[in-house]
Symmetry: C2
Subunit: 335 residues, 2 copies
C-alpha cells in the first residue's frame, strides 16, 4: 500500500518526473514530500516515474553530510535531535531528518509520537522532517530511506540526519548509508545495552554519553573516560578517523556544539582525503550487490518448488539426518 | 587440486565410506587423516564417498567442545596452543587442532612453519594436529574445516581447537563454527590491532592478554583491568555468558590453567542451559543458508550473461549514471 499522507495518488494525476524534479531542485519542500511519497509507493504505476526521479537525483551531486544517529530506546534520541538540529539550523545549514524503522508496520510509524516532540525544530524554514515510511520489509525501508536521501540532496539539503527507530538490524543498515555514525549512550553500563547489536560500538565515529546533567554529570564523565580508553583497543577505522567520546545534555543544551564541531571536522577531513567519495562509491556498490542478494533470498528462493525443498532440508538438518553442506548441495543442484 | 599429502588418491583405491568410518570411529588417526584428505579433495570421484562419510559422522553425536582461537600474527598463537594443548592433553582429554587459513593457497599452507613449533604437542598419543587445507576459496576452506570437525568428533576427540591463520574474514568464519571463541591480544594497544576485523572483540567469550611475562606483567595486568571494565559496555551474549579478560604467558606457562578452567566452566554451563545445542542448531541452519548464498554469489551470478550485466551496471553506478537499486532491478528482472 502506498503511504499517501500528503498526496492522493489514487486520483488520476499525472506527475511528470522532470517537472517534479525541477520543482524540488528549487528547494520546494512540498515537491520533496511528494517525491518521497512517490518513491515509497508500492503502486506499480508510480514505479517508472519514481525511477526517473531517482535517476535525475542520483546524478545531481552535492556536498552534503549524511549523519546516522543510533542508540537504544530511552537514550533520548528525539530530544537530542531537537537540540542538535537547532544548532545545525542556526548555523545556516539546511537540515533534513529522516527515520528508518523496520518495525513501523506494526507500530504504525513509531516516530509519529516523537514528531510532536520535534515540533519546534520542524517549524524552522530550513528544516525538513519526514516520519519513517511504513514499509513491509527492512530491505524495502532501507531502499526508500536511501532514495529519500538522494531526493533531499537534490532539494539542496546540506545535512541529512538519519535516525534509527526501533532496534535490531536497522543500525547496520543506517551505518551503510551514512558518512558519519554517531552512537548515543547512557552512563550506566549494562541493562540499557540489551538492545544494541554486537559490533555497533566499533562502527561508531563518535560515541556520545547523553543525559550528562544534574547528579549524572560525574557518572557521565567517568563513563566517557573509560570508554575513551577502551576505544584504543578497537581496530582503527578505514578512514583513519579516531573515534572520540563526548558527553552532552540535550535537556540543558550542553556539549551539543562540540558534537556538531566533530561532525564538521570529520566532513572537512574526509572530503580533503577523498575518503568521503571513496566510501560512498563503496556503499553504492554494496547496495547494488545487497539488493541482488535480497532479491535472491526473498523472491528467487521463495519460489514454491525451491522453498518447499529448503524447508524440508532444514528439518532434516535439525534432526541430524543430513549435514548443512550436503543439504545445500541438494538445493543448489536445482538452480 | 586434491591435497593428497597423506594418501595418493590418484591410484585406483576404492575406499568404502562405511569401512573408513568404522576405522575412524575406533579413534584410528590414520583413518581420520585419510578421511579429512578425502573431504578436502576436489576430485569429483571422491565426492560421493566423502558425502556418505559426512552423513555417517553427522549423526554420531558426542559431547565435544569446539574452541576457536584467534588473534593477529605476532600475538603468539602457536606457542599458546602448544602450552594450552599440553594442559588439555594432560587432563586426559583427546585434542584435535585444526587450522583455517583462506590465504593458504598463496603461502602454501602457512601453518606448516608453525607445525614444527607444535612438534612436542603433536607427539602425544591423544593429540591430532592437522595443517590447514589448501582450498581455493574461503567458502571451500570453511566447508572442509567444518566437515573435519565432524570427522574428529566421530573419531572420539573431545576438544576441537580451531585456529585462525592469516587475517581477514576467517575470524568470523571460525566464530560461526565453534562453541567458545577465545581472542588472544597483546598489552600494547594500537598498531597490532590493524589486522583484527571490527566487531571481533565483541564476539569473544574470553579475551586473553598473552606474553604477560618479564617486564610486561604490569602492562598486561593494567590492559586486562581496562579491557575488563570496557567489556561491561558491550551488549551481553545471547548465551548469558559474561566475557572475562585473563592474562597468561605461553612461554612461562602461567595463567594457562585458568584459561582452560574458563573453557570447562563454559562447557558445563552451556550444556546445562541447553545453549550449546541451541547454538549448534542455529549454526547448522546458518551454514546451510550461507552455502546456498555462496553458491548463488560464486556460481549462479557468475554465469556469463549475468556477470557481464553486473559488471556493466557497477561501472554505471560508479560514474553516477544509475542508482544502485535501479541497477539491481535491471539485473534481477533477468533471474
Amino acid at each position: 500500500m502506498a503511504t499517501n499522507k500528503n498526496f492522493n495518488f489514487n486520483k488520476k494525476q499525472n506527475y511528470s518526473s522532470s517537472e517534479l524534479f525541477k520543482k524540488l531542485s528549487t528547494g520546494d519542500v512540498i515537491a520533496l514530500s511528494q517525491a518521497i511519497t512517490l518513491i515509497e509507493s508500492e503502486n506499480l504505476a508510480h514505479k517508472e516515474t519514481a525511477n526517473e526521479l531517482i535517476k535525475l537525483s542520483f546524478s545531481s551531486h552535492n556536498k552534503s553530510l549524511r549523519l546516522g544517529i543510533t542508540g537504544v530506546p530511552g537514550v533520548g534520541k528525539s530530544t537530542f535531535i531537537e537540540s542538535f538540529g537547532e544548532i545545525i539550523a542556526t548555523s545556516g545549514k539546511k537540515l533534513a531528518v529522516l527515520a528508518i524503522d523496520p518495525s513501523s508496520q506494526q507500530t504504525g510509524g513509531s516516530i509519529l509520537g516523537d514528531k510532536t516532540r520535534m515540533e519546534e525544530l520542524g517549524k524552522k524554514s530550513n528544516v525538513f522532517i519526514r516520519p519513517s515510511p511504513a514499509g513491509n520489509t527492512l530491505g524495502g525501508v532501507a531502499r526508500s530511506t536511501r532514495e529519500s536521501i538522494l531526493l533531499c540532496e537534490a532539494a539542496g539539503f546540506d545535512i541529512i540526519l538519519i535516525e534509527t527507530v526501533g532496534v535490531g538490524q536497522s543500525e547496520t543498515e543506517v551505518h551503510s548509508m551514512v558518512d558519519f555514525f554517531l552512537l548515543l549512550m547512557l552512563s550506566g553500563a549494562g541493562d540499557e545495552l540489551q538492545g544494541i547489536k554486537r559490533g555497533i560500538m566499533e562502527m561508531a565515529d563518535l560515541v556520545v554519553i547523553n543525559k550528562s546533567d544534574g547528579n549524572n554529570v560525574t557518572k557521565a564523565k567517568s563513563a566517557q573516560k573509560l570508554l575513551q580508553s577502551a576505544l584504543h583497543y578497537f581496530p582503527p577505522h578505514l578512514s583513519g578517523w579516531t573515534t572520540k567520546t563526548l558527553t552532552c545534555s540535550s535537556l540543558k543544551n550542553t556539549g551539543i556544539k562540540e558534537i556538531w564541531g566533530e561532525c564538521l571536522n570529520y566532513h572537512q577531513q574526509m572530503t580533503e582525503s577523498g575518503y568521503l567519495t571513496q566510501n560512498r562509491n563503496k556503499q553504492n556498490k554494496n547496495w547494488f550487490q545487497q539488493s541482488i542478494t535480497l532479491y535472491l533470498k526473498n523472491v528467487f528462493l521463495k519460489r514454491p518448488k525451491i522453498k518447499s525443498l529448503i524447508d524440508l532440508k532444514e528439518e532434516q538438518i535439525l534432526n541430524g539426518s543430513i549435514s548443512p553442506f550436503q543439504a545445500a548441495d541438494e538445493v543448489t543442484s536445482l538452480l
